[in-house]
Amino acid sequence: MKLLVPVKRVLDYNVKPRVRADGTGVDLAGSKMSMNPFDEIAVEEAVRLRERGVATEIVVVSIGVQQCQETLRTALAMGADRAILVLTEAAPEPLAVAKLLRALVLREGPRLVVLGKQAIDDDMNATGQMLAGLLGWAQATFASRVEVAAEADGGTATVTREVDGGLETIAVALPAIVTVDLRLNEPRYASLPNIMKARKKPMETLSLGDLGVDVTPRLTTLRVSEPPVRKGGVTVGSVAELVSKLRSEARVI
């Protein structure tokens, strides 16, 4: 069974995002970029599924600028088999990304697509669900545990999901989309020997035109601003006063 794992290149999670003074966005110039942490978990899960004999091939795909090749190489070093870069200077929205991925799914024929639940830059949390909607496939989002029973012409994934206040387990028919949450696994290191070997794994570059997808954005960002600075409130004189204020004034307990 073939797996497709999309990965996104984002500002490294260690780097504090800085809003540009002109309000046009977050300054990325010269700052460290890395694979979206949730996507690392997706790659790791895919590799484990192959190690368990469920998957036979893992194709990773990234959509974006030339440097996304580095992100793909990391995924290859973690154990993916081959990579596809859809080259574009635009930063497509989740809807356009989902359409591009649908085109790739139709081309590659995976039975399972594993994605991070959200990218830590735009925090949309949408691409996986949208891809499922476009394909008419089942979806299992926010996975903290994934079991796959593949059969020749079907099969099931049993997925435990992080939901409000606990966990929920669902069974989805394959082919399906799984988006992964933080607790699913601890991604392995891309070790130096594996990074070296990854240089020899195949990487294909496609253009938007190759996939015939319109990526015209539907959202216009009018302004990006710093969140308001939080101000201090009041000093209370006693524990009793604190509890009373939390009950009657803030109404949070």
Partner: protein, 557 residues
């Protein structure tokens, strides 16, 4: 972990460190010896992540390395146009007149204000285009030696737990074997230190002396930005026994690089380089430049100040030391990038020659090449200036420096020596005058915690602490009882914290009974190496943490 199996890769040349020296060496090697296989490892998460410098750079070495750097889009965009040296008292600023005459080594005509991190990112692109394999995120942790010869390095193991056991994600390091290994780790490199000890490279030279540079990057309103302005100060807030001063460069898009260097031979145990840097911003010579702007990055790095007298033997069987790992920095000029690059290029030429020879040897022609180059002439000309400050203090030192430059033109028949390593120069708490630093205002001046935040430093939580007290008991008797924990002040990242002492830190109750103890917040470390240098008994050992850890300096830094 004795069972571990490490993979091995063979190269002609392995370069340790992706700064200007290592990258220039790699590029030069591929230029003169295109068939040679070259591998460069860098402990930072990417090239540039650990690069910290002012920086005004002299393009001389770059002109030689990549003559068409302008066409290739090197990020040298702001020419230095307005050059000022200012002597400060607490309230006043006196501009040194006729700077080009009295301090000719300081002249910045033809130089560029840059982000050295960005320059390194660009150099890395040039190197990769020539076929250099660059692996950031992997620190060299171990020397490989066979038959008395360095045959490469091994990268550190990944996924080792805090207790030193292999964790679930354990990945052993890798052996990178090479005919020649070039150490370009920058000032106080951890492997460079071991190589020098192993081959006795420091025999017969002065001890290396150091400075600590603490830097902030500001974005200022366009109206107060004066691209091309280069300003240095000396004098206040340091006393005459302490060497150092500030820099401030306006460059790029509304960026101002501001920073402060303190010679680590400072004697007052109460001195805090970080707080000196903070309080200087309140001086009228600095304040109007930054006020109304926002600070966008922070970092710190030690640098070598010993100059010519402190440069060790450069080669050993199987390799060489280059750049600031060897101490190629022109202190009076406040520049090291051109020296680092040139030394890397010369080493590459020596190595290429040795490779052509076929038989592994010591790339000894490197030393002769250095001595025959402009680099040696330049360092020789300024060799007495920094030690004069140490010997005579700021005022007489500055006068000597003018005299040396104007009358002797650097050709004095004597050479002033560095007599003491920096760690041996520190007065006890009782003998030092406490310094009362102003509280940070949160707009112009800041505390360490919010500063370290802007370095984007991080270290994987579950790994051995990379800063170790060799003898923990000595801390109480020496560092606390005698010096009142100088590390809690000289560390610019808040790694060292005393808890349990009365009125210090948060701890009370149980801790108060057991007395003060040292809390090491290793995660905060920005890899400046000062603790490895300045600890009074050299009791702190800085070892490379897991690859990819440490600061993530942003573009423009």
């Amino acid at each position: 972990m004795s069972e571990r199996v490490r993979e091995v890769m063979e190269y002609d040349v392995v370069v340790v460190g992706g700064g200007p020296a290592g990258l220039s060496a790699s590029i030069r090697l591929k230029q003169v010896s295109p068939g040679a296989s070259v591998c460069l490892v860098e402990k930072g998460s990417e090239i540039g992540a650990h690069i910290l410098s002012g920086a005004v750079i002299e393009p001389r070495a770059l002109d030689e390395l990549i003559p068409d750097w302008r066409e290739r889009g090197a990020p040298l965009d702001t020419a230095a146009t307005d050059d000022r040296m200012i002597y400060l008292t607490a309230k006043r600023a006196v501009r040194v007149p006729l700077l080009d005459t009295v301090m000719p080594h300081m002249g910045n005509h033809g130089n560029f204000i840059v982000s050295l991190g960005d320059v390194c990112r660009w150099l890395a692109g040039q190197a990769e285009a020539l076929g250099v394999e660059i692996y950031p995120g992997f620190g060299a942790a171990e020397l490989l030696e066979e038959d008395g010869r360095i045959v490469g390095v091994a990268t550190g193991d990944m996924g080792v737990t805090r207790s030193g056991e292999p964790g679930p994600g354990y990945a052993p390091g890798m052996e990178l074997r090479a005919a020649y290994t070039l150490f370009a780790e920058g000032c106080r490199g951890s492997l460079s230190k071991r190589v020098m000890a192993r081959f006795g490279l420091r025999a017969g030279v002065d001890p290396q002396t150091y400075g600590l540079g603490v830097k902030e990057l500001w974005e200022v309103p366009a109206a107060q930005h004066r691209p091309g302005l280069v300003q240095h100060t000396f004098g206040w807030p340091l006393d005459h026994r302490t060497y150092g001063g500030s820099w401030m460069y306006h460059f790029g898009e509304n960026l101002v690089s501001y920073g402060f260097v303190v010679g680590l031979d400072y004697p007052n145990t109460w001195l805090s380089p970080f707080d000196e840097m903070q309080r200087l911003k309140l001086h009228p010579a600095i304040r109007p430049h930054l006020e109304g702007g926002r600070r966008i990055s922070y970092g710190a790095r030690a640098l070598s100040e010993g100059g010519l007298q402190s440069i060790p033997r450069l080669t050993f069987p199987g390799g060489a030391l280059i750049g600031d790992a060897a101490g190629f920095l022109n202190v009076p000029k406040i520049k090291g990038t051109h020296a680092a690059m040139k030394s890397g290029m010369l080493a590459a030429e020596a190595v290429a020659e040795a490779l052509a020879d076929g038989r592994p040897a010591e790339p000894a022609s490197f030393t002769a090449r250095v001595r025959a180059s402009w680099l040696w002439q330049e360092l020789r000309g300024v060799r007495n200036i920094r030690p004069a400050f140490a010997k005579y203090g700021t005022i007489v030192g500055a006068a000597y420096s003018g005299l040396d430059a104007m009358l002797l033109r650097g050709r004095a028949p004597w050479t002033l020596r560095h007599r003491h390593p920096d760690h041996a120069v520190l007065d006890s708490a009782a003998a030092s005058t406490p310094i009362d630093y102003p509280k940070p205002d949160g707009r112009l001046t800041f505390d360490k915690s919010s500063s370290v935040f802007l370095s984007n430093t991080n270290h994987a939580e579950d790994q051995p602490v990379h800063l170790v007290l060799r003898d923990p008991a000595r801390w109480r008797a020496v560092n606390w009882d005698r010096f009142r924990s100088p590390e809690s002040r000289y560390c610019p990242a808040g790694v060292y914290e005393v808890v349990g002492a009365d009125g210090v830190g948060e701890a009370v109750g149980a801790d108060a009974v057991s007395g003060p103890r040292l809390q090491i917040n290793a995660q905060n470390c920005v890899h400046c190496k000062t603790c490895d240098i300045k600890d009074p008994t050299e009791n702190i050992d800085w070892a490379a943490p897991e690859g990819g850890g440490g600061p993530n300096y942003i573009g423009g830094m």
